[in-house]
């Protein structure tokens, strides 16, 4: 008899918890994949596609699914790779040798004398940073440009050029002192 009581009690408890869990699963359902959002937040959002994915979010999804490695983002450089390794708890992976450790931030500008107004660059720009219309001169909104260089290949007259982002007194950074032979490794 007592064994029956025990079994029934446990069954009831199990049933209750089952209901509770089921309710929680519906009530607190997480839309989308939060890991993807977190990864996406660390990526530089140049949308340049140099990682071989069409934009930062697809790359973030690929990392989350384990399909892509964390060292495929040249604009982010080492900083982004380290941040990703920190977030995901994986070992840091050295960047491909061809990429600089500290990427130089660049933007593009249009040689307005040469531009023929073909709108091909406008269609290529992932962040709508190019202003212009058909057969009208185009220009880059420098503040919006992410330096992805995606507009350069489509240009039929090669009028888009790369320049480094100009540094002023407010964006200048102190250099790391040179006498680094004592630099400790944390």
């Amino acid at each position: 008899m007592s064994i029956l009581i025990a079994v029934i009690t446990l069954a009831i408890i199990a049933g209750l918890f089952g209901l509770l869990l089921g309710y929680a699963a519906i009530k607190f359902r997480v839309e989308g994949d939060p890991v993807v959002d977190k990864i996406d937040a660390l990526l530089p959002q140049t949308q340049c596609g140099q990682c071989s994915y069409p934009g930062c979010r697809p790359y973030a999804e690929a990392i989350a699914s384990g399909e892509a490695n964390i060292n495929q983002c040249p604009p982010g450089g080492e900083t982004t790779m380290l941040a990703l390794s920190d977030l995901l708890g994986v070992e840091p992976v050295p960047l491909d040798e061809e990429h600089d450790r500290e990427p130089v931030k660049t933007v593009v500008y249009i040689d307005e004398q040469t531009c023929i107004g073909c709108t091909l660059c406008i269609q290529a720009c992932p962040v709508d940073a190019i202003l212009g219309a058909a057969k009208q001169m185009h220009t880059i909104i420098e503040d919006e440009c992410t330096g992805c260089d995606l507009c350069i290949p489509p240009c039929p007259v090669d009028c888009i050029h790369v320049k480094p982002v100009s540094v002023d007194q407010n964006t200048w950074r102190w250099p790391l002192p040179e006498n680094q032979h004592t630099a400790p490794q944390a």
Partner: protein, 540 residues
């Protein structure tokens, strides 16, 4: 007359250093006005906040004290013509900044007349409300003259939530060699006291403490005399011991009130406002004389200069001219520093303009040696002297290995860059440089983050727009297809119902279209007709 001065109870801040003052060498002579330069190069960014944009053009004649650049944003300060003359250029010129990067300046060829623009002097400022006075302070381009150059009008408006009880006027001037505040207090004690009263009125502070280090007896005497002469009871001179860096805002608050400013807070959070003595005098000049901030006291000193002294200098004067007026360089002059030996930075040239924040030009005679940096031996001397009670070793460790998160966990941003840690370091590690490096890197990361967030929004928006356009196209296509389908069905239906007598829907459509065309033509009052028009559009 001997008066017993109330002794104010003082506290100590953590750490600090006793440094050789070297101040006497530049205080022997009274302050004189520097010779009016032929050419003034006035930087348009001399303050923290948004750069002022020019409001006069090249070729314009300007009068002394006329606004030449301003910006409507809240945290900004207008710039005034320091003397009368003609604007000859607006372009990027080198300005005193550790980066050596040029910034936008206005060049004024002076006409030698030094003619003032109209000045609005007030005899009884208390008839105006604090808000109106604050507006005047803003229009006068006053910024914190202790070196931080934060717009004073912003500081004078702490907001409704933080009532200011104590106004502290900082005449500590703790850094060696610098003596411009000392001279200012000696020579302009009256203006200082009037300025203090004005600031007190503007923020409705109950009492005002003027803190002066005990190595400036003459300044203390002058200011006390002025207070006694006016028999003021709520302004008090507090003599503080000479310890570096007592002049730091947070350190001074600790000394005088035993209160500590919260790590990420402001003095106004604990009911305190700190202003430099120079700022108080500038407020006086702006309100009582109607004169904007166009000049300041500058100390030209050091073993590398012939006659160390203080000069009253127009903003935009070239440093080389001031050195010349101080007897020129000593033959062993080796290094020009803007600011003091602890917190100043080395300049690579003296062809730079004086700015509002430039309190001292120090010419050292020791050649710039890069000290042989040795490994950190964890002696802890830096932590002992740190006035912000930080752990400089840990900060150094994390900054040098670019662990920017940890370095913030150790409160990097509470570091005031006073240089005490570097000064005592037996291994000669340039610690402050590491902190500056880490700070600017972190700010840069923050900027990048904001920029990438912005890019993400724009990218998402573009993506959404493209999707929408695609959907709209598909929708159109689908609708067209549906129509076609319907038509076909109707046709089939009609064909099935009555075979011969039923009107061919195609024909009916053509007829209807022709009818419409005729109606239209009639409406247009018989234009040249062409009835053979093909109504093809509807039949498809």
């Amino acid at each position: 007359m001997t008066v017993k001065h109330r002794t104010h109870h003082l506290w100590h801040f953590h750490g600090g250093l006793k440094l050789e003052g070297h101040k006497a060498m530049s205080t022997a002579e009274p302050v004189v006005k520097a010779i009016l330069p032929k050419r003034l190069v006035v930087p348009l960014q001399q303050h923290i906040g948004d750069i002022a944009s020019p409001v006069v053009n090249v070729g314009d004649k300007v009068l002394k004290g006329q606004i030449i650049a301003e910006n409507n944003s809240y945290v900004s300060a207008p710039v005034h013509a320091p003397s009368s003359g003609t604007v000859t250029d607006i372009d990027n010129f080198p300005t005193p900044h550790p980066s050596g990067i040029s910034s936008l300046c206005m060049v004024i060829e002076t006409d030698g007349e030094d003619r003032w623009a109209e000045r609005e002097a007030l005899t009884d400022p208390r008839q105006l409300s604090p808000v109106e006075l604050r507006q005047k302070v803003r229009r006068a381009g006053i910024v914190g003259l202790g070196g931080a150059t934060f717009p004073t009008s912003v500081k004078l408006n702490p907001g409704p939530d933080s009532a200011i009880e104590t106004l502290i006027i900082n005449g500590v001037e703790c850094e060696p060699y610098i003596s411009c505040d000392d001279m200012l207090m000696r020579e302009q004690a009256k203006a200082l006291i009037l300025g203090c009263e004005l600031i007190q009125y503007m923020v409705s502070a109950h009492h005002c403490l003027i803190a002066i280090e005990d190595n400036k007896p003459e300044a203390i005497h002058q200011v006390r005399q002025e207070i006694e002469a006016r028999s003021l009871h709520n302004i008090e001179v507090v003599v503080v011991p000479t310890v570096y860096p007592s002049g730091g805002e947070k350190q001074l608050i600790k000394i005088l009130t035993h209160k500590e400013v919260p790590s990420d807070g402001l003095p106004s959070d604990i009911g305190i406002l700190v202003q430099n003595v120079g700022t108080a005098v500038a407020v006086h000049n702006a309100i009582y004389l109607g004169e904007p901030l166009i000049s300041r006291y500058v100390t030209i000193t050091g073993e590398g200069v012939q006659q160390p002294r203080n000069l009253e200098v127009l903003i935009g004067t070239q440093m080389s001219e001031l050195i010349e007026q101080s007897g020129g360089y000593h033959e062993n002059a080796a290094k020009l520093i803007m600011g003091g030996p602890m917190m100043g930075f080395t300049l690579s040239t003296d062809h730079l303009p004086i700015t509002k924040g430039c309190n001292c030009l120090l010419v050292e005679n020791t050649p710039e040696q890069t000290p042989e940096t040795m490994p950190c031996i964890r002696c802890g001397a830096c932590a002992t002297v740190c006035p912000a009670q930080l752990l400089p070793q840990q900060l150094y460790w994390h900054a040098s290995s670019k662990n920017f998160e940890q370095v913030q966990d150790y409160h990097l941003f509470d570091c005031i860059e006073c240089g005490c840690c570097s000064y005592v370091c037996p291994s000669q590690i340039p610690l402050v440089q590491y902190y500056r490096f880490a700070k600017t890197e972190i700010w840069n990361q923050e900027r990048e983050r904001i920029k990438s967030d912005h890019a993400r929004v724009r990218h998402d928006f573009r993506q959404a727009r493209l999707d929408r356009e695609k959907k709209e196209r598909e929708e159109k296509l689908r609708k067209k297809k549906e129509m076609l389908e319907k038509k076909k069905q109707a046709e089939a239906k009609a064909a099935a119902e009555g075979k011969s007598d039923a009107v061919d829907p195609k024909k009916a459509a053509i007829e209807a279209a022709m009818k419409r065309v005729q109606e239209k033509k009639a409406a247009q009052q018989k234009p040249p007709s062409d009835s053979a028009e093909k109504p093809s559009g509807d039949s498809e």
